[in-house]
Amino acid sequence: MEYFFELILGGLTRGSIYALIALGYTMVYGIVELINFAHGEIYMIGAFTALIFTSVLTLLGFNEIAVIVLASLLAVIYSSAYGYTVEKIAYKPLRNAPRLSPLISAIGMSIFLQNYVLLAQTSDFLPFPNLIPEFEFIKPYRHIIGSPEIIILLTTSIAMVLLTFLIKFTRIGKAMRATAQDRNMAMLVGVNVNRVISITFIIGSALAALGGVLIASHVGQINFYIGFIAGIKAFTAAVLGGIGSIPGAVLGALVLGLTESFATGYVSSDYEDVFAFGLLVLILIFRPAGILGRAAAQKV
C-alpha cells in the first residue's frame, strides 16, 4: 500500500513539472495555433542558466537562500528572453505562412538551441545541486513526502492560480483571450496583437524555466538533450488535456505523470518513454480534442 502511495506522489510530482512546461505549450498554441517545438529547449536553457548562476553565485560567496532565489530568478528572466527572441526570429515573420512552415521553423529552432548549448557548454551530464532546502517540520514524515515534492507541488499550484487569475481578470488576460478567439477582431478593438503574442511567449517561457529549475534539482543532473524529451512529454500532456485549455494542460500533465509513475512502477522502467509516446499517439488518434478541449468544427 505504501508503494502505491509512493507511486501516486511520484506521479503527481512528475506531473506538476510537466504541467509547468505544458502550460507554455498550451498558451502558445491557444493564441497562435503553433506547436512551439522549441519550448522544451527553453526549459533546458532555464535549467542550464540556473546551474551556471548557482555555481557562480556560490563561488562569489552568496548564502544558500540568496543563491536559490537569485539563480531561479535569473533562469526565469533568461528563459523569457529566449522565448521572446525565438518568437521574433522564427515565428513572427511566418504569421501568415502555410501552417507547416512555422512548425518546420520551430523544429529547426529546437535543433539549433540544443546544439548551441551543446557546443557552448558540454555534451556531458552535469550534476545539478539540490536547490531545495530540507524543511525541519517535514523530517518525521520523510518516508512519505520530502520537501522537494512539497515545493514542486506548491510552486505548480501557485503558478496555476496566478495564471488563471491573470487570464481571467486582468486586461492583458482579456486581450490574450480575445486574440486567441479572433485575432483580426482583437486588432479591430485596439489590441496590439504582436505584443500580446510576445507576452504569451514570455509567460510560457518563464513557467518552463521554473519547471527546469525544479526538475533539475530534483533529478540532480542535466544535459543539453533534456528539453527534447520533456518537451514532447509536456506536449503530450497539453494534447491529453485538450490543447489550448489551461486547466486541461494541468489535468493532462497529472494524468501523464501518474500513468508514467504506475507504468514504470508496476510494469517496467525500461519503457518509461514508450508509455508517454504511446499515450500521445493513442490520444491523437482517438481523441485529438483531448479531455477538456473543444472539438474544432470543420469549416467548408
Binding site: L74, Y78, L94, I107, Q114, A120, F277, V281, P288
Partner: protein, 404 residues
C-alpha cells in the same frame, strides 16, 4: 528622412540587436562551470564574437526581409522574379546536354580518381539523396510532414542485419524484403494517423519514430539492445565476395544506380494521375474529396512509397557500415533528412539532390562546418522557412499538352 539619417537608424537598430544578443548569450556562451571541481571558466572573447556577429547579421537579416517583401510585391504584380540560374541553364538544351555528359563522366570516374575514403563519403551523400527523394514524396508532393521517417530506415537496416545474422541471407535477397517491409510498416503506421491534421500528424509520426527506436534499444532478445549488431555482410556479386576496396566501389555504383532509379520513379510519379492527386491534396483536402479523390488511400500511397525507399536505403546502410545500433536512428536523423528536403525545395527533385549534396558534403570537407553540423541544419530550417520557403530550387512541374 535623409539617406544619412536612415543609415544612422539602421546602425542604431543593429547596435541594439547586438547588445540584446550579448545579454542573451551571456550565461551560456561566456560562463562555463565545472560543478565537480567547482571551477568557473570565463570566456569573454565569446561575447565579443556574439556582439560583432549579431551586429553584422542583423543588417543581413533586415536586408533579406526587405528583399523578400519586395519579391512578394513583384510576384503580386505579376513578374516572376526569382528564377534561379540553374533552372535557366537546365531549360536550355544547349547547356543541358553537355552538363549531363560531364556529370556522367565525373560520376563514373569518381571512385577511380579519388580515394576510398572519398568514395565512401560520396556513397553516403547519395544515400541521403535517395532518402531525401523518398521523404520528398511524403512531404514535398503530398504535403504530409513526417518526422518519424527514420523509423522506416531503421526497419530496413534491422531487417537486413537480423536476417543476415540469423539466417545468413545475402544483401540482394534482403533488399526487396527491406523495401516491402518498409512499405508494410508505412501502411501500418500510416493507416491510423493519416486522418490527423498536419501538425498533429507531424508529432504522431515523431512519436512513432521514437517508439520504434526505444523498442530497438530495450528489446534485447530481438535487437541486441544498444550494443547493436555487428559483422553484417557487405553486398556480394552473386557468390563473389569483394575485397574491401572493391566492395566500396561496388556500393558506390550500386548507389548511383539506385539514385537514378529513384529519380526516374519519382519523376514519373510526380507527373502521373496519382502525383496530381497528391499535389491537389496538399493544396486543399476538402476540395479534393469533393472531386472524388479517396483522401486516406491517396495519402497512404504517398506515405508507404516514401517508407519503401527508406527501407531500401536502410538495407544499404546496414550493408555499408556492417554494424548498426539504435543510436543511428534518432530523431535528429529524421530532422536531417527533412532539412535536406526543406533546403532543396519541397517537391523539387533537383533541389533535393542539391540540398543533400550540400548538407552532407559540406560538413565533410570543411572542418569548420563538421562541428557545427547540427547547428547549421537547425539554422537552415529556420532561415529557409523565413526567407525562402520554396527552397533553393522552386519546383517546376511539367505543363500538360493538349490536342485540339
Amino acid at each position: 528622412m535623409s539617406f544619412r539619417d536612415d543609415k544612422i537608424q539602421e546602425i542604431k537598430k543593429s547596435l541594439l540587436v547586438s547588445i540584446w544578443f550579448m545579454f542573451l548569450t551571456f550565461p551560456i556562451m561566456v560562463i562555463r562551470v565545472n560543478p565537480i571541481e567547482k571551477a568557473v571558466e570565463w570566456r569573454w572573447e565569446n561575447m565579443l564574437v556574439v556582439g560583432i556577429g549579431s551586429f553584422l547579421l542583423s543588417f543581413v537579416w533586415r536586408y533579406m526581409l526587405k528583399k523578400k517583401e519586395a519579391g512578394e510585391k513583384r510576384a503580386e504584380i505579376g513578374e516572376s522574379g526569382n528564377t534561379f540560374l540553374i533552372q535557366k541553364i537546365l531549360e536550355e538544351p544547349r547547356f543541358c546536354i553537355p552538363l549531363l555528359i560531364t556529370l556522367t563522366i565525373i560520376a563514373v570516374a569518381f571512385p577511380f580518381i579519388f580515394s576510398m575514403y572519398q568514395t565512401n563519403i560520396m556513397t553516403t551523400a547519395l544515400m541521403y539523396v535517395v532518402l531525401g527523394l523518398g521523404l520528398n514524396i511524403v512531404v514535398g508532393l503530398a504535403g504530409l510532414l513526417d518526422l518519424g521517417y527514420v523509423a522506416f530506415y531503421a526497419v530496413g537496416a534491422y531487417c537486413y542485419a537480423l536476417l543476415n545474422h540469423h539466417f545468413g541471407l545475402g544483401f540482394w535477397s534482403v533488399l526487396p524484403i527491406g523495401a516491402v517491409l518498409g512499405f508494410i510498416f508505412g501502411i501500418l503506421l500510416g493507416f491510423p494517423v493519416l486522418r490527423l491534421r498536419g501538425d498533429y500528424l507531424a508529432i504522431v509520426t515523431l512519436g512513432f519514430g521514437e517508439i520504434i527506436r526505444l523498442v530497438l534499444e530495450n528489446w534485447n532478445e530481438f535487437s541486441f539492445g544498444p550494443s547493436g549488431i555487428a559483422n553484417i555482410d557487405r553486398p556480394a556479386f552473386w557468390d563473389f565476395q569483394f575485397s574491401l576496396q572493391n566492395a566500396t566501389i561496388y556500393l558506390y555504383f550500386l548507389m548511383i544506380g539506385l539514385t537514378l532509379f529513384t529519380i526516374f520513379v519519382v519523376n514519373r510519379l510526380q507527373n502521373s494521375r496519382i502525383g496530381r492527386a497528391w499535389i491537389a491534396l496538399r493544396e486543399d483536402e476538402t476540395a479534393c474529396q469533393a472531386m472524388g479523390i479517396d483522401k486516406t488511400r491517396t495519402k497512404l500511397t504517398a506515405f508507404a512509397l516514401g517508407a519503401t525507399w527508406a527501407g531500401m536505403v536502410g538495407v544499404i546502410f546496414a550493408a555499408k557500415t556492417t554494424f548498426i545500433n539504435p543510436a543511428s536512428f534518432t530523431f535528429l536523423e529524421s530532422a536531417m533528412i527533412l532539412s535536406i528536403v526543406v533546403l532543396g525545395g519541397m517537391g523539387s527533385i533537383l533541389g533535393v539532390i542539391i540540398g543533400a549534396l550540400i548538407l552532407i558534403l559540406l560538413p565533410e570537407y570543411l572542418r569548420v562546418f563538421s562541428d557545427y553540423r547540427m547547428l547549421l541544419f537547425g539554422a537552415i530550417m529556420v532561415i529557409m522557412m523565413v526567407f525562402r520557403p520554396q527552397g533553393i530550387i522552386t519546383n517546376i512541374r511539367r505543363r500538360y499538352k493538349f490536342n485540339e
